[in-house]
């Protein structure tokens, strides 16, 4: 039995876990649900040894685990899959896996043997592996999660803790993945699954523990609860937020025009293939696709960090700051986690200009601005002086959205903005995006996502990206199944 006894952990002034008791039994899948910032990930890190608790202890089968020792936790059989995969970017995937349990630890290091063992396990799960010798840095988020899952399983763990593992898996992988969790359960292992997808928790878990603001508010079973009840427990009140919906769009003048945009990578492989589309003011254009089909590169080209091989991107309002980009990897590309919230805000040039005069930064004005945005976008943070790294994932995302919208750009390019966000946060982010597009003199939005439901809910127009090519869908095309086929690369 795995148990956490009265675990308390603070980050600065934020109480992340407040005397949390938790237990999971061998042969069960235990779902840990809660809003962003409820303390789920902190609890996982304490159990996996990567964080030491201030008080309380983790106990596995009667033996208490030394606090803050990942090595001891792994030796005891606890493996964790982190929400943003803990991989080594510039190493090959084989090397990444060799650092886990696929390497026997005896004799010379044999990466081929590691790859063979990994492929065997991957085949069982229906995971597709990257080509031999590929480094992690250019792999998609989904591929990274698969690698991290494999690496965790390579330790042959007694306890597997997964932080939002399913949010990036393709539907075809999901079934095999849930089967895997069930087979681990059948072996008498303990599976702890952190999720905010309540339907999934109810479908696969044997028991559910609900966290809210660092406290356990309920322990229940799927039979005794429902999605509505869980949502209420998580948030503390029944959410009556209306689902965001896309009003008929009345596109104004074109704001952004993309013509024959082509990008080859350094090996000459074609990443983006003659993309042409335009986006008008007051319009939300969705680009749907399975991760790894050129979306990341498209965002990089639009953000100006990567030069296209050929083609043209024309922004009709040429002023700087006319485009705001919300990248998918918020911790690496979006925020500087070691900086304060207000400092992160004024990384955006338009906001910086608002709070500087003649080259002098007026910090108190920046802090005021930050405080306003914290209120307006309901960022859960002690204050503008908090470090961005102290926020939970969902609140980091709110901060990025706040920064983009407050910069008053003509176009927002957003990539997987709701990945890993809970229901309330997703609704708020969607609401903010809709307000941005449909306000008087509204802006244009390009929303790139692999979540079709999200795109159907808020986009007026839907494009499909597949293998670097973009195709327009007919305006009435709203059938998820057919769109899913197109995303997978079907030709009509």
């Amino acid at each position: 039995m795995l148990s956490a006894n009265a675990i308390t952990r603070r980050f600065g002034r934020t109480l992340a876990l407040d005397a949390v008791d938790f237990e999971a039994l061998p042969g069960e899948i235990h779902a840990l649900v809660g809003e962003n910032g409820a303390g789920k990930t902190t609890l996982m890190n304490v159990l996996a040894g990567s964080l030491a608790a201030d008080h309380g202890e983790a106990v596995l089968d009667g033996r208490s685990l030394p606090a803050g020792s990942p090595r001891a936790a792994l030796a005891a059989g606890i493996a964790a899959v982190h929400q943003s995969p803990m991989l080594f970017e510039r190493m090959t995937w084989e090397e990444n896996l060799a650092l886990g349990g696929f390497d026997t630890g005896a004799g010379a290091l044999d990466l081929d043997a590691v790859a063979t063992r990994a492929r065997a396990l991957a085949a069982k799960l229906g995971f597709e592996m990257p080509p031999a010798g590929a480094t992690v840095e250019h792999r998609s988020v989904a591929e990274r999660v698969r690698l991290e899952v494999l690496r965790a399983l390579s330790f042959n763990p007694r306890v597997l803790i997964l932080d939002e593992p399913t949010s990036v898996l393709a539907p075809s992988e999901l079934a095999a993945f849930l089967d895997l969790l069930r087979s681990l359960r059948a072996d008498g292992r303990i599976v702890v699954m952190i999720t905010h997808k309540l339907a999934e928790a109810i479908a696969v878990a044997d028991r559910i523990t609900v966290l809210r603001r660092g406290r356990v508010v309920a322990r229940t079973t799927p039979a005794q609860t429902s999605e509505e009840k869980l949502a209420g427990l998580m948030i503390g009140e029944i959410v009556t937020q209306p689902a965001a919906s896309a009003p008929p769009s009345h596109p104004g003048d074109p704001v952004l025009q993309i013509e024959n945009l082509t990008l080859d990578d350094h090996t000459g492989r074609r990443i983006l293939d003659r993309l042409s589309f335009r986006v008008a003011a007051g319009e939300i254009v969705g680009i749907a696709g399975v991760d790894g089909n050129g979306q990341t590169e498209l965002v990089e080209v639009l953000a100006g960090v990567r030069r296209p091989t050929s083609g043209k991107v024309t922004l009709h309002d040429g002023s700087s700051g006319a485009m705001a980009v919300i990248p998918q990897n918020r911790d690496l590309d979006g925020l500087i986690l070691d900086m304060r919230l207000w400092e992160n805000l004024i990384l955006a040039r338009p906001l910086r200009e608002q709070v500087t005069s003649h080259g002098w930064l007026n910090a108190s004005r920046a802090i005021d601005l930050c405080r306003q945005l914290i209120d307006r976008f309901r960022i859960r943070a002690p204050g503008p002086e908090t470090l961005a790294g102290a926020l939970s994932g969902g609140n980091r995302q709110r901060l990025e959205v706040a920064r983009a919208i407050a910069s008053r750009p003509r176009v927002i390019v957003a990539h997987n903005i709701c990945r890993g966000l809970d229901l309330a946060a997703t609704a708020e982010v969607h609401r903010a995006i809709l307000d941005f597009a449909f306000a008087a003199g509204g802006g244009a939005v390009i929303l790139i996502s692999s979540d079709l439901d999200e795109l159907l809910a808020i986009c007026g127009r839907l494009l499909i990206i597949s293998r670097g090519k973009i195709r327009e869908t007919s305006p009435g095309e709203r059938d998820p199944e057919r769109l899913g086929l197109l995303m997978a690369g079907a030709r009509d």
């Binding site: 996996a48 803050g68 020792s69 990942p70 090595r71 803990m86 991989l87 510039r90 060799a98």
Partner: protein, 303 residues
């Protein structure tokens, strides 16, 4: 003429390469040690002092290793355990060693102006190889430290790229928090790299006093530690690249001596500056950080 120049290039390259290989290990683990200069000086001084008083070259070398390790242990305590800024600490360590060796030298040998000479480390000609025209004297007629240094090149390349230990080392330099989550013991690995590097850098210093100058003068390393740092960058964090870059700098130093000996009207100080000017020029061309470990220079501290 050519033979003398090339032989001198290899000799001049050796201490730089030895120190740079140590630094490579340290940088792969995610630490940048600007204090190499200090460990080198300490090695140079201790090697000379021990060899002079004991008459034993071997004891001198052992002392140099101990001195380099001791200096790096100070650095490691501050940087690895206490997460102090690496650049500041490294600079402080360099200055500390410069001061200490100067003081001890005057204390032990007095300010007489007399050079305290020791016998150079014996050369070991490699049998028939040493008799090959040109190549023989240039490559195969050196002391043991030269052979050791050049044998380290393929050895370290293999260890870093192809062994379990190298993989763990690189993991600590790439993403220490992920290495930690896998139970790799970032602190222990960074300490190990710094200890090995201390030994190599100490030996590099000993080379200056025991194999090259056969005496000690204040600041005998004359910036070679910093040249070694740039060699790691120019060599793209690859031990073969480091070897090539070191030989290039060795050649520049050898050329400088050759030009001085020719006795032109050009002030000799310009020739003295040649290797350092070359360092700047080459760094300007190779300065990109693409090949550097991602977490290089970032202190690692758990939340």
């Amino acid at each position: 003429m050519l033979e003398a120049f090339l032989t001198s290039a290899i000799t001049m390259a050796t201490p730089i390469l030895l120190a740079a290989l140590g630094e490579l290990l340290v940088e792969e683990s995610g630490v940048i040690n600007i204090g190499i200069e200090g460990a080198m000086l300490a090695g140079a001084f201790v090697a000379l002092a021990i060899a002079y008083f004991s008459g034993s070259t071997a004891l001198g070398l052992a002392g140099a290793i101990a001195a380099g390790v001791a200096i790096n242990a100070i650095f490691a305590t501050l940087v690895v355990n206490l997460a102090v800024n690496q650049v500041v600490t490294g600079t402080a360590v360099s200055i500390l060693a410069l001061g200490l060796t100067g003081v001890f030298y005057r204390k032990l040998f007095g300010v007489t102006g007399k050079a305290f000479m020791v016998a150079p480390i014996a050369k070991i000609p490699l049998g028939p190889l040493a008799r090959i025209p040109l190549l023989g004297p240039v490559l195969f007629d050196h002391n043991g430290l030269v052979y050791f240094t050049f044998i380290l090149v393929p050895t370290l390349w293999y260890v870093i790229a192809h062994t379990r230990y190298g993989l763990r080392l690189r993991a600590c330099g790439e993403r220490p928090e992920a290495a930690d989550a896998l139970g790799l013991g970032v602190i222990a690995i960074r300490w190990q790299a710094l200890i090995v590097s201390g030994a190599l850098t100490g030996l590099a210093g000993a080379f200056l006093t025991l194999a090259y100058a056969n005496t000690f003068v204040e600041n005998i390393s004359a910036g070679r530690g910093f040249v070694a740092l740039s060699v790691v960058i120019v060599g793209r964090w690859n031990s073969w690249g480091l070897a090539a870059a070191s030989v290039l700098f060795g050649a520049a130093m050898a050329l400088q001596f050759g030009l001085q000996a020719l006795g032109t009207v050009v002030p000799y100080q310009l020739f003295l500056a040649l290797p350092y000017a070359l360092t700047l020029v080459v760094l300007a061309g190779f300065g990109g950080q693409a090949a550097a470990p991602s977490a290089l220079g970032e202190p690692y501290r758990r939340q």
